[in-house]
Symmetry: C3
Subunit: 109 residues, 3 copies
């Protein structure tokens, strides 16, 4: 048994949780902030059998991959004489920090 501790962006958490559950991996969500990722992240605890560890990590890599998104800055036109400021800009989203911890014992009550 391993305990995966995955710190992911808030925006990726619901999709990741759903994808994990579809494969039978249950997760518990802890509220967290700052540090490893930008503000607004979620720490997920996921207990997995050793033989399914790679599969669970693969889901995390897939659902939290770093990608870019086009964002149009919310600058009022009147205040943005430079038209460049109103152009959409690419921002990076996603990413995850993942720790795999050994588990000595695991049980359900």
């Amino acid at each position: 048994m391993k305990l995966i501790l995955a710190i992911v962006q808030d925006t990726d958490a619901p999709g990741l949780t759903k994808a994990l559950l579809e494969r039978g991996f249950q997760s518990t969500k802890l509220a967290s902030t700052g540090g490893f990722l930008r503000e607004g992240n979620t720490t997920l605890l996921i207990g997995v059998e050793d033989e399914r560890l790679e599969e669970a990590l693969e889901v995390i890599r897939e659902k939290c991959r770093t990608r870019t998104r086009l964002v149009t800055p919310g600058v009022p036109l009147a205040e943005a004489p430079d038209p460049f400021l109103a152009q959409p800009v690419e921002v990076q989203v996603g990413g995850a920090v993942v720790f795999v911890l050994p588990v000595e014992r695991f049980f359900k009550v």
Copy 2:
């Protein structure tokens, strides 16, 4: 030293914390949601000496045991022509998911 990470129902958390403290086990509560248990759960961190691990786990098993509770559905009588709907129903409460993690070092400042 071991670190017990116990995910329990919110409703069981105060009783468990109290029972642990009566035996000298301190716990720290993290807010958590979803996943291993129904919505509304709490993750407790409990550091224990190896020789008292079984005792702490026993308290968790006792205080979080799965049991049923009779709940009367809150259905207005006028809207429940079928009297069966107004009967109390058994719901399952309790339960816990428990990970025991090895600790390499532990200290207090």
Copy 3:
């Protein structure tokens, strides 16, 4: 790789996070309450390379050391006939409970 799980007072968390970051240690903050310390504490997760573990622990010891602070009880003078009650009193602040956990694998997405 090690995962440091440090339960510290809320009041010490920002200074600790800042001091860690100045040395390149990123941390993730989990909301927590009660137990190991008085109400109002924060659990920090800090992933560190083995060879920098001592350095990170030293920052925690420095920033969370137990110390006393003079507090003047907020007792209205009219209700405090005993002048002793209006004297500043020493309260203890700081302190931390620190677990160092082994990490089997660590990666960033």
